[in-house]
């Protein structure tokens, strides 16, 4: 099923053309995505919804270069992601895409600030002495600057997810993908986290959120996946 292109006059940042992804399982071939076309522009705030197993995570993984399509093309920020060699994918991802996970996935042995500095270390995007101030600035932005030197286990779930968002923003990525970022949070905290993510698009970052949430305030587009096929609301 085809999707309309990005709004005229705005730069197309994500382009999926005829993308299919299937997995080999003991029960046979399982199609996770089928012929998905998707165009996203800079600053888009997109919600990917659908039932469990509908292909939301697969779609986000393909955009983030975490997975490769079985068929079709994935072009993100000008890079033909499906053709990038494995070696080039990590640095590309570190600079271009920020990833937020459902279970936060902060590294437990690093402090919150260190977790945020880590992508900067990996991609060497700032001078070493600028990395901590940058991390603190991002933590302040998500409202947990006072937790900077604590270990993740000492933070609440909501605080951990905010830290994860700060980490996703560490290298000023053009795209942030968030896979069920509120799935493990209470509704009040979930609202705060969603507000945070939504606010990113105001600064020109394309945000793609896979979610079960039905009512997302300020959402630009909703892509609903049904059995691996996409439909726009």
């Amino acid at each position: 099923m085809s999707q309309p292109p990005a709004a005229p006059g705005r730069e197309s940042l994500v382009s999926l053309r005829k993308v299919s992804k299937s997995y080999e399982t003991p029960a046979g071939t399982w199609p996770a995505l089928r012929d998905v076309d998707l165009e996203l522009a800079a600053g888009d705030l997109v919600a990917v919804t659908g039932r469990s197993g509908s292909g939301k995570s697969t779609l986000l993984n393909l955009i983030a270069g975490i997975d490769r399509p079985s068929r079709g093309e994935v072009v993100v920020a000008g890079a033909r992601v499906h053709e990038l060699p494995e070696k080039a994918l990590s640095p590309w991802r570190g600079k271009t895409v920020g990833v937020v996970f459902q279970f936060f996935q902060l590294l437990p042995t690093l402090t919150v600030a260190e977790n945020v500095m880590l992508p900067m270390d990996f991609c060497n995007v700032r001078a070493p002495r600028e990395r901590r101030p940058r991390a603190l600035e991002l933590l302040a932005r998500v409202g947990i600057a006072d937790q900077a030197d604590k270990l993740p286990a000492q933070l609440s779930g909501g605080q951990q997810q905010r830290a994860a968002i700060a980490r996703a923003l560490a290298n000023d990525p053009r795209i942030v993908v968030a896979d069920e970022p509120t799935g493990n949070l209470d509704s009040e905290t979930a609202a705060v986290v969603l507000d945070l993510l939504c606010s990113l698009s105001d600064r020109g970052t394309t945000v793609v959120i896979a979610t079960h949430e039905r009512d997302l305030a300020g959402i630009d587009r909703r892509v609903e996946l049904v059995d691996g096929a996409a439909a726009v609301r």
């Binding site: 993984n61 983030a64 975490i66 997975d67 494995e86 070696k87 990590s90 640095p91 991802r93 570190g94 600079k95 920020g98 990833v99 996970f101 279970f103 996935q105 590294l107 437990p108 042995t109 690093l110 402090t111 260190e114 500095m117 880590l118 992508p119 270390d121 990996f122 991609c123 070493p128 030197d149 604590k150 270990l151 993740p152 286990a153 000492q154 980490r167 996703a168 560490a170 290298n171 493990n184």
Partner: protein
């Protein structure tokens, strides 16, 4: 097969790589344990069997001389089953240009009728014809000789003749010739006559009737024979009664093997650490399954049984792998030690008790090791077990230690990750580090003990100021000797000593040939027990050739006449040798009371007492000597043979017969041969423990990576390259290696000191001058870090190659 049993097998199969590593580590432990145990069983059986098959003499009486009539008469004495006349005398054999080695010549009347202390022909002729000599099989290499070769030998009388080496024999009762640096030769009386010696025998070798293993009975018979011989006018100079029914070195070998078996068991116990790590990780990954099993009716005992059965299977599989390896190792070790102790192995059969004990220990150790983690693992409640993975329990950061560790900062986050990740599973880390550190302790101990031995020997030799010691065949006028020495170019200084033997009051002995070597005095005195005899060295009180380390009292002083300084070995062997005490000794025809004035430390020496030469001068031996000490202008090892030859020639020219001459360098070689065994033992132990430790580290790193697979995915998702992920794991492995190296370094000092003392006390009854060898420390640090890198290489590679999506989906 029930579902329960299938789960036992499939869980292990699912973790097959780690299972294989753990099985291999346990197998190494079992192999080491069973190998040493089977060597112990083979050697103790074969050594005594081989030795007893030669019909070793129950006792040997050394007379001035004996004839056939006396032998016949003794044979008819009650309690005597067999008797045979023999003779043994010391000479020298030429090993190269100007190089002479010690020769112990045994004279047998009739080679066709050897009934006691039998010799076994090996190669070449049997029996030796006149003018020929058989050589103990291990001794040929001492003179780099071969069968058919002619060799120059010099008798105690100073006559030098050529003998043809016509064959080799095995003489099980003799120590390994290459270690003693002595050639054992076997000749007939006719050959002895050709060598210019009077052809008589002087030893009665007895085989007692009745219980030959009863030492009191043997001593009783030997004593009655002594009285019988003396009643006929003969003079018995010495009675030797070896420990009945046992090879002279059986005790030493048994101790060494038991020590090795203890370390084999230790290696096995360490391999249990891997079982702990594997099952702890398995249980941690199966908490949810345990919850489900409990929810569907599984009792704690049934579920614990499931995991304990896995431990039992690990032990069983390891035993199957280890058994052939252990048996092969046992054979190899037996062969090595049989050559070392100079006896043949007739059978390599391993008794059933060795197999049973190895199987039992191999099966029990893994189960015992698994017991605690299994019981803890299955104690989890159903609710807790079925709770979501992410909210099951406190993670890193819950303890004060975690928070303190988080305070360790640094500019490299990847390095911090490696460091802090290493401490996440602290019990696993502690066990892994301890296992590897144990190997490190043994590795460093090998270096420390070796260096300490060298230092100890250096100190001993440093006390001996002479470059060359010459033992004379008999007492010689000092003036004549002095003239000969003066005529010898290159001699800087010289002293003439008297070396004799004594025993605590009871017998008589005259001055005789000097004894040497590590196994105590050679031919010696009187009726006292052979173990109580010791060497007495009479030397000028102001000697410049000896400056022993005095540990109690004082050294001899000018003006002393009946003062005695005992070495520490003698003081430990016999009671009453304490400064200030008076001891009465049988020396020659008289009993002499001595005042003990000091104790000298002389590691690796036989029992020796030093007395002033003034005593002998005042008792009729003035102006005589039988032992020379010399310092030379040039004491380099290469110049020694020429120096010895020059001195021999000068002494010969004046009719003085040298029995042996030993340079400082020669003394060192004998020690080095003995040290080899300790070195090999420590290094092999370190190697086995190192392999177990390395496998432990590999298992640990593999488990660490497995448990953190999702984190690796996250790292990749936020921009870490596969190479960086690989490096984080490798650095973690190297840090674990470094930690174990540092722990080993801390422990190595006390452990190697204790271990060195234990080994040296067992083998030589002395203590070490301990030295910590930095080469061992640096070497082990390098090895442990390398092991850490190597052990984490494959897990790191897997971690870095795993698809990010799969890693993120990993539970």
């Amino acid at each position: 097969m029930t579902a329960y049993q299938r789960k036992i097998l499939r869980d292990l199969w699912r973790e097959r790589l780690r299972t294989a590593l753990v099985v291999l580590a346990i197998a190494l432990g079992i192999a080491a344990f069973s190998g040493v145990l089977s060597a112990y069983a083979i050697l103790t059986r074969e050594l005594n069997r081989g030795y007893l098959a030669t019909n070793p003499a129950s006792a040997t009486l050394v007379l001035d001389r004996l004839d056939d009539a006396l032998v016949g008469a003794v044979a008819r004495q009650p309690g005597v089953a067999e008797v045979e006349g023999r003779r043994s005398l010391r000479g020298r054999i030429k090993a190269g240009p100007g190089e002479w080695k010690g020769l112990q010549l045994f004279v047998v009347r009739d080679y066709a009728d050897v009934r006691i202390s039998r010799l076994t022909p090996q190669q070449g002729a049997w029996p030796p014809a006149t003018g020929e000599m058989l050589v103990e099989r291990d001794a040929l290499q001492v003179v780099s000789g071969r069968i058919g070769q002619s060799v120059r030998v010099r008798t105690p009388g100073g006559v030098e003749r050529t003998l043809r080496v016509s064959g080799t024999v095995a003489d099980v009762g003799q120590a390994q010739a290459r270690m003693e640096q002595v050639v054992y030769g076997y000749v007939t009386l006719a050959t002895l006559a050709e060598l210019g010696e009077e052809p008589y025998l002087d030893q009665l070798k007895l085989l007692v009737a009745g219980d030959r293993t009863d030492e009191a009975h043997v001593r009783g018979v030997a004593e009655s024979v002594r009285r019988f011989v003396e009643g006929r006018g003969g003079r018995v100079r010495r009675v030797d009664v070896p420990k009945p029914g046992q090879h002279p070195h059986a005790d030493l070998m048994g101790l060494l093997l038991l020590l090795m078996a203890a370390f084999g068991f230790f290696a096995l116990a360490l391999s249990g650490v891997l079982v702990v790590n594997l099952l702890t990780a398995l249980l941690a990954s199966q908490v949810r399954q345990i919850g489900v099993m409990k929810a569907v009716g599984g009792s704690d005992a049934r579920i614990a049984g499931l995991y304990l059965a896995q431990a039992l299977l690990l032990g069983g599989a390891a035993f199957v792998v280890a058994l052939p390896l252990g048996l092969w190792g046992g054979r190899a070790l037996s062969r090595y030690l049989s050559v070392f102790l100079n006896f043949d192995l007739l059978s390599f059969a391993v008794p059933a008790w060795v197999l049973l004990l190895s199987a039992l220990v191999g099966l029990v150790v893994p189960v015992l090791a698994a017991a605690r983690p299994v019981l803890r693992g299955v104690a989890v409640s159903v609710r807790e077990a079925l709770a979501d993975h992410e909210v099951r329990g406190p993670g890193f950061g819950a303890s004060a230690f975690d928070r303190a560790l988080a305070g360790v900062g640094g500019s490299s986050r990847p390095l911090l990750l490696s460091l802090r990740n290493g401490f996440r599973r602290r019990t696993r880390l502690a066990l892994t580090v301890a296992t590897l550190a144990t190997a490190g302790v043994f590795f460093m101990s090998a270096f420390n003990v070796k260096t300490s031995l060298v230092r100890t020997i250096d100190r001993l030799l440093a006390a001996r100021k002479s470059d060359l010691s010459v033992a004379l065949a008999q007492m010689a006028p000092l003036a004549q000797v002095e003239r000969a020495v003066r005529q010898t170019p290159g001699v800087k200084a010289f002293e003439g000593w008297i070396v004799t033997e004594a025993s605590p009051a009871g017998g008589a002995s005259g001055p005789q040939a000097e004894s040497k070597g590590l196994h105590g005095a050679g031919p010696s005195a009187a009726h006292a027990s052979d173990a109580d005899r010791f060497t007495v060295v009479a030397l000028p009180a102001d000697t410049k050739m000896l400056a022993p380390e005095i540990v109690k009292g004082r050294w001899l002083q000018p003006g002393d006449t009946k003062a005695l300084v005992a070495n520490d070995r003698l003081a430990a062997r016999l009671t009453g040798f304490e400064p200030g005490a008076s001891v009465t000794l049988s020396m020659g025809p008289a009993q002499v009371a001595w005042q003990v004035v000091g104790i000298a430390r002389e590691p690796f020496s036989p029992n020796v007492a030093y007395v002033p030469l003034a005593f002998f001068e005042s008792h009729g031996h003035g102006g005589t000597t039988n032992s020379l000490r010399l310092t030379l202008d040039d004491a380099a090892p290469a110049t020694m043979p020429a120096a010895k030859e020059r001195l021999d020639a000068s002494l010969d020219a004046l009719g003085v017969r040298a029995l042996s001459s030993t340079s400082r360098y020669d003394g060192r070689r004998g020690f080095d041969e003995h040290m080899l065994m300790i070195d090999v033992f420590l290094l092999v132990t370190a190697l086995i423990l190192g392999a177990v430790g390395g496998l432990g580290l590999t298992t640990t790193m593999s488990l660490n990576v497995l448990e953190r697979r999702r984190e690796m995915g996250v790292l990749r998702a936020i921009g870490a390259s596969p190479r960086l992920v690989w490096r984080i794991v490798i650095v973690e492995g190297a840090l674990v290696g470094l930690m174990s190296g540092l722990l080993a370094a801390l422990l190595a000092w006390p452990v190697s000191r204790g271990l060195g003392d234990l080994l040296v006390t067992l083998m030589f009854r002395t203590r070490l001058d301990f030295v910590f060898e930095p080469v061992g420390l640096v070497g082990w640090l390098a090895i442990s870090i390398t092991l850490g890198v190597v052990a984490s290489f494959v897990p790191a590679w897997h971690a870095s190659r795993h698809p990010v999506r799969e890693a993120l989906a990993h539970e």
